[in-house]
C-alpha cells in the first residue's frame, strides 16, 4: 500500500492529494488521529457483535485512504476498534500533533509509517537549527511495538545514526526507507542499514543533509549483502561525499530488481555508461553529473553512451545532469520519446541546447528546468510537450535582481501549449497579470499554482498594477486548485479573492504581501479547507491572528514570521485554544528572561499531545 510519491517531488503534496477525498465538513480534522475518538480499551463486545466485527475487519482491510479510515473509525466503537486493527499505514502530518505512545496504542498492526516534522519554511533557513522533530522517540516506540514494520518515510525530521541502527535492529522485515529533507545522520548510519536490512528494497535519500566529516566517510555501498539483493530503488544524489564506485557497479549487477538508480555528482559519464550496462532494465536514472571525467578531446565516450541509452528501453525518468557538457546530450535521444519525466533543474542549458532534446519528448508529463533556457526554451517546451502535467522552472541565479530570462512571455507560451497542466512552480523576475490570467483560462486543471516573482513587491511589469488580478483569475478559473503560492505586489484585495474563490485550497504560502489585517482575515474566514498556512513578512497583526480562532483546530498548522504579531495576541490565542500548541521562536537567545513584545516567528498547530517537552531555549510555548 505504498503511497504514490511523485518521483521528483520536492514535497509530496501531490501524493497526499491523490489519496484524499474532498472534506465533507469544515469541522473534520483529517490527519494523524481522527480527533478525539471513542476511548481505547473498553470491554470486548458480545459474540454476535464479534462476528460482525470480524466481517468488518475483513472489509476494512481494503480501505486504504486515510481520510476514509478516519471517517470509518468515527462511526461507533466497534468500527473504531476494527479500523484500528486493520490500519496498515500510519500517516502523521505533524510529529508533534500526537505522542508516539498514543499512536502505537491505538494502531497495533502498522506496516508503513509516514512522519513529517519541521515546518516547510525550515528549508529556507527560517527555523533555527535544533528546533526539534527528532525521530528518536518515534523509532523507539515503533521498535517496541511494530515487529512487522516494513516501511518508514520521513520528511523534515532529525534522524541520527543511532535511530538508523534501531531501525536495522528492530524490524526484521524492513523493506523501504525514504528520507526527504532530513538531517542528522551520516554514512555510518547508511552502512548499518545497508548491512543489516537484508530485505531492503528501497533506500531513497532525497535532499537530505548528511553530517559526514571528510575523513570519516564510511564506505556504505560496500556493506550491502554480497548475495543477490532485492533492491528496487537506490537514490542517493544528496549524499555529497565520494563513494566506492566499483562496489556500486557490483551492487547494481547483483540487483536484478533494480529499477530506480540516482547517483551523486561523483559519477562521470564513463562510469555512468558502465552502470547502465549492468542495469538495462532501469526505469528511473539519475546521472549524477553529465560530463566526461577526462576533459575534452582525450577520449570520446560518446558512441558508447549512445548505445547505453539505446539499450535502456525502459527508461521513463531522467534526472541529474549536473555540470552538464551539452555536447553529450545527443546520447539521450534514443530514450526521449519514452520519457515521462525529465529533470534538467541542475543543468545550465541555453534554449539552443535544450531544443533538440525537448523536441523529441512528446510524452513528457513532468519537466523541471532552469531559467537559463529562457522564454524561448519554454516556447519549445510548449510546442513539444502537449501532455505536460507538471512544470517547475528554477532560477539559475536565485537572487532578487539577477538576469532571469524567463518572464510572463514564457508563462504565456506554456499556458498555450500545455493545456493539461496540473502543477506549476515558476520562478521569475518579472510577471504580468495578463499572463497569469491566460494560464488560469488555458489550464483549468491546475491543482498547484506556485508563482515566485523573486523581486519583492513587484507589480505587473507592463501596467504597473498589483498582481491581484492575476491571482484572482487563478482562484476563480482553476476550480480544482488546492495549493497556491503568491508573490509580487499584492493588496488585501488579492486575499479577498482567495478567500472568496479558493474554496478547495489546502496549502497557501504568502510572502511580502497584503496591506492590513483584513487580508489574513479574508483567507482564514473564506478558505474553508485550509490546512497549512505559511506567511512571512506581511503586515498581519494580532487582530487577524485572533480572527482565525474558530478555524485553527481545522488546520494542521499556521506559520507566521516577520509579521506584526505581539505576545499579547499570541497569548490570547493560546489561552483560548487549549489543544493548540503556540510556539514563539526567536533567532537568538540574549538574556534569560527578557521577553520582547514583538513576535518574530510564530508556529502554531493543533495537538493531542500538549506542549512538547523537547523545546530548545529559543522556543517558547505559550
Amino acid at each position: 500500500m505504498r503511497e504514490e510519491i511523485s518521483d521528483m517531488s520536492e514535497d509530496d503534496e501531490t501524493g497526499e492529494r491523490a489519496r484524499w477525498a474532498p472534506d465533507l465538513s469544515k469541522n473534520r480534522s483529517d490527519d494523524s488521529d481522527s480527533g478525539p475518538g471513542p476511548p481505547i480499551g473498553d470491554s470486548p463486545p458480545p459474540f454476535s457483535d464479534q462476528v460482525l466485527e470480524n466481517v468488518l475487519e475483513n472489509v476494512l482491510e481494503f480501505l486504504t485512504s486515510r481520510r476514509d479510515r478516519n471517517a470509518a473509525s468515527a462511526v461507533c466503537r466497534s468500527w473504531y476498534r476494527a479500523e484500528a486493527q486493520t490500519r496498515r499505514e500510519l500517516f502523521i502530518g505533524n510529529c508533534y500533533a500526537v505522542a508516539p505512545h498514543r499512536a502505537v496504542e491505538r494502531f497495533q498492526s502498522i506496516k508503513s509509517v509516514v512522519l513529517k516534522g519541521k515546518p516547510r519554511f525550515a528549508d529556507f533557513n527560517l527555523v533555527p537549527f535544533g528546533w526539534g522533530a527528532q525521530f528518536e522517540p518515534w523509532v523507539k516506540s515503533f521498535g517496541a511495538a511494530y515487529r512487522h514494520l516494513e516501511r518508514i518515510c520521513l520528511k523534515r525530521m532529525s534522524v541520527t545514526d543511532k535511530d538508523l541502527t534501531i531501525i536495522a535492529e528492530s524490524f526484521p522485515l524492513f523493506k523501504d526507507l525514504t528520507l526527504i529533507c532530513c538531517e542528522g545522520f551520516s554514512t555510518l548510519g547508511l552502512a548499518v542499514i545497508a548491512e543489516r536490512c537484508r530485505h531492503l528494497r528501497v533506500l531513497d535519500l532525497i535532499e537530505d543533509y548528511l553530517e559526514d566529516e571528510d575523513d570519516e566517510v564510511v564506505d556504505w555501498i560496500s556493506r550491502f549483502p554480497e548475495t543477490t539483493t532485492s533492491l528496487e530503488s537506490l537514490v542517493f544524489d544528496c549524499v555529497t561525499c565520494p563513494f566506492n564506485f566499483d562496489a556500486l557497479e557490483c551492487l547494481v549487477a547483483r540487483s536484478p530488481s533494480l529499477q530506480r538508480l540516482r547517483v551523486n555528482h561523483h559519477v562521470a559519464l564513463e562510469q555512468l555508461r558502465r552502470l547502465m550496462a549492468s542495469a538495462p532494465q532501469l526505469t528511473h536514472l539519475g546521472t549524477g553529473t553529465f560530463r566526461s571525467e577526462v576533459g575534452f578531446g582525450e577520449v570520446d565516450p560518446n558512441l558508447d553512451l549512445v548505445s547505453a541509452f539505446g539499450a535502456s528501453r525502459s527508461l521513463v525518468c531522467l534526472s541529474g545532469f549536473r555540470e552538464i557538457e551539452p555536447e553529450f546530450l545527443p546520447a539521450i535521444y534514443p530514450v526521449c520519446a519514452n520519457l515521462t519525466s525529465l529533470n534538467f533543474s541542475f543543468a545550465n542549458l541555453t534554449a539552443e541546447e535544450l531544443n533538440p532534446v525537448i523536441r523529441q519528448c512528446h510524452n513528457l508529463q513532468t519537466f523541471w528546468v532552469l531559467d537559463s533556457v529562457g522564454d524561448e526554451g519554454l516556447r519549445a517546451v510548449a510546442e513539444s510537450c502537449q501532455d505536460l502535467r507538471e512544470l517547475r522552472v528554477f532560477p539559475l541565479d536565485p537572487t532578487e535582481d539577477s538576469d532571469s530570462s524567463v518572464s510572463d512571455i514564457g508563462l504565456q507560451f506554456i499556458s498555450e501549449g500545455c493545456r493539461k497542466l496540473r502543477s506549476i512552480l515558476y520562478f521569475c523576475q518579472r510577471m504580468t497579470n495578463a499572463a497569469v490570467v491566460a494560464m488560469s483560462k488555458n489550464c483549468p486543471d491546475l491543482v498547484v499554482f506556485r508563482l515566485c516573482i523573486m523581486g519583492r513587491h513587484l507589480p505587473d511589469r507592463i501596467t504597473g498594477e498589483p498582481m491581484d488580478a492575476g491571482f484572482r483569475a487563478i482562484v476563480m478559473n482553476c476550480k480544482k486548485l488546492t495549493r497556491l503560492s503568491v508573490s509580487g505586489l499584492l493588496t488585501d484585495k488579492a486575499f479577498e479573492y482567495i478567500g472568496c474563490y479558493g474554496k478547495l485550497i489546502r496549502t497557501l504560502s504568502v510572502a511580502f504581501a497584503g496591506d492590513s489585517d483584513g487580508g489574513l482575515r479574508y483567507v482564514l474566514e473564506g478558505c474553508t479547507r485550509l490546512q497549512k498556512l505559511e506567511i512571512r513578512d506581511s503586515p498581519f497583526g494580532d487582530a487577524s491572528l485572533i480572527s482565525g480562532l474558530p478555524f485553527y483546530y481545522n488546520m494542521r498548522f499556521l506559520w507566521m514570521s516577520s509579521c506584526n504579531l505581539s505576545m499579547r495576541g499570541c497569548k490570547e490565542v493560546a489561552r483560548n485554544k487549549p489543544n493548540l500548541v503556540v510556539e514563539v521562536i526567536r533567532d537568538a537567545v540574549e538574556e534569560e528572561e527578557e521577553e520582547i513584545e514583538a513576535v518574530e516567528k510564530l508556529y502554531l498547530y493543533r495537538s493531542l499531545a500538549g506542549a512538547r517537552t523537547d523545546v530548545p531555549a529559543f522556543v517558547k510555548i505559550l
Binding site: 527560517l126 538531517e183 555529497t240 555528482h265 555536447e327 513587491h457 507589480p459 505581539s566
Partner: protein
C-alpha cells in the same frame, strides 16, 4: 520635480492603500500622506474598515521595508515623465530597486530593503550556486547561507577548462586554456575545434569528421581580419577582445570564450575593450 526628492526621504507613508489605486490618489495630498507619524497605518482605508486594532508601536522592520518599496513602486509609476537618478527607460522593477537603495543610503533609521533577506527567494541551499562556471564541481550543500565548493583542488589539477561557443553553432565546447602556450596556439585550436562543425552547419551533407582539408580554415580570429573574431568574458562578465593582455593574465581572468562574427562586433563592445585596456594600463 525636485520637490519629490525630499518626499522620498521622508520615511514611512502613513497610508499604504493608495498603492493599488493608481496614480490619482497619490497626487492628492501626498505630502500629508507621507508625513512621518506614529499613527496607525491604513486609517484612510478605502474599505471603511478601521485598523484600530493594529499595534501602534510596530516593531516589525519588514513593514517599514514594505512601505518603502510601495512608495518606490508608486513613485516610479507616476514618474513616467519624472527625472529620476537612474530610472529613465528601465522597467518598473529597476526603478523600484534604485529608489530603495537611495532611501536606504540616506536614511539612518531604516533597514535597507536591498540587503539579502534570509530565505528569499525560497530556494533550498543545494540549488544555489548553479551559476558558477561549468569547470568547478557542484558545490557541497551546507546549512549556512554560503555553500562550500569542496573540489577546487581537482579543478586546478585538471587545467583550466572554459566553455567556448561559436555564433551559429548550437552546441558549445570546452577547452583547456592551460594546454596552450600562447594566443596563436589557442587560435589554431579553436579553428580545429569548430572547422568541421561550421562546415556541417553550412552544408548538412558534410560529415564533420571527414574532408578536413576541404573545410575552410577559420582564420584571423585575433586581428579582426577574418570572418570571425575571438572574444572572452572575464570575471566581471565584460566581453573583451582576445589578445590584448599577456597570455598568463588571460588564462587567469578568462571565464568563457566566444567566437563571434566580426561583422557583429558593435561599437559598444569596442568601447568596452578600450576601457579595459586603459584599466590594465593604469
Amino acid at each position: 520635480m525636485e520637490g519629490e526628492a525630499p518626499r522620498l526621504l521622508d520615511l514611512i507613508p502613513k497610508d499604504r492603500d493608495w498603492v493599488g489605486k493608481g496614480v490619482c490618489k497619490v497626487k492628492n495630498g501626498i505630502e500629508e500622506k507621507l508625513e512621518l507619524r506614529l499613527g496607525l497605518p491604513g486609517e484612510e482605508n478605502e474599505k471603511e474598515e478601521k485598523q484600530s486594532a493594529k499595534s501602534a508601536f510596530s516593531l516589525s522592520f519588514s513593514e517599514n521595508v514594505s512601505k518603502r518599496t510601495f512608495l518606490g513602486s508608486v513613485v516610479t509609476n507616476e514618474g513616467k515623465g519624472t527625472e529620476r537618478k537612474a530610472s529613465g527607460a528601465p522597467p518598473v522593477a529597476h526603478g523600484t530597486r534604485t529608489i530603495n537603495s537611495s532611501i536606504a543610503n540616506n536614511s539612518s533609521q531604516t533597514i535597507t530593503s536591498n540587503a539579502p533577506v534570509v530565505g528569499w527567494p525560497p530556494i533550498r541551499s543545494f540549488r544555489k550556486n548553479l551559476a558558477s562556471s561549468s569547470n568547478s564541481k557542484s558545490p557541497l550543500e551546507t546549512r549556512d547561507e554560503g555553500p562550500v565548493n569542496g573540489n577546487k583542488a581537482d579543478s586546478d589539477k585538471k587545467g583550466c577548462f572554459v566553455k567556448i561557443n561559436m555564433d551559429g553553432i548550437p552546441i558549445g565546447r570546452k577547452i583547456d586554456l592551460k594546454a596552450y602556450g600562447d594566443y596563436d596556439e589557442l587560435s589554431s585550436a579553436v579553428d580545429q575545434l569548430f572547422r568541421g562543425l561550421l562546415a556541417a552547419q553550412r552544408d548538412p551533407l558534410v560529415n564533420e569528421k571527414s574532408g578536413g582539408e576541404n573545410n575552410q580554415e577559420i582564420k584571423g580570429l585575433l586581428d579582426g581580419s577574418g570572418e570571425y573574431t575571438l572574444v572572452y568574458e572575464d570575471e566581471e562578465g565584460d566581453r573583451v577582445l582576445v589578445g590584448d593582455v599577456p597570455w598568463k593574465m588571460f588564462i587567469s581572468t578568462a571565464k568563457r570564450l566566444r567566437v563571434l562574427k566580426t561583422s557583429d562586433l558593435s561599437v559598444s563592445s569596442i568601447n568596452t575593450v578600450s576601457r579595459k585596456r586603459a584599466a590594465t594600463d593604469c
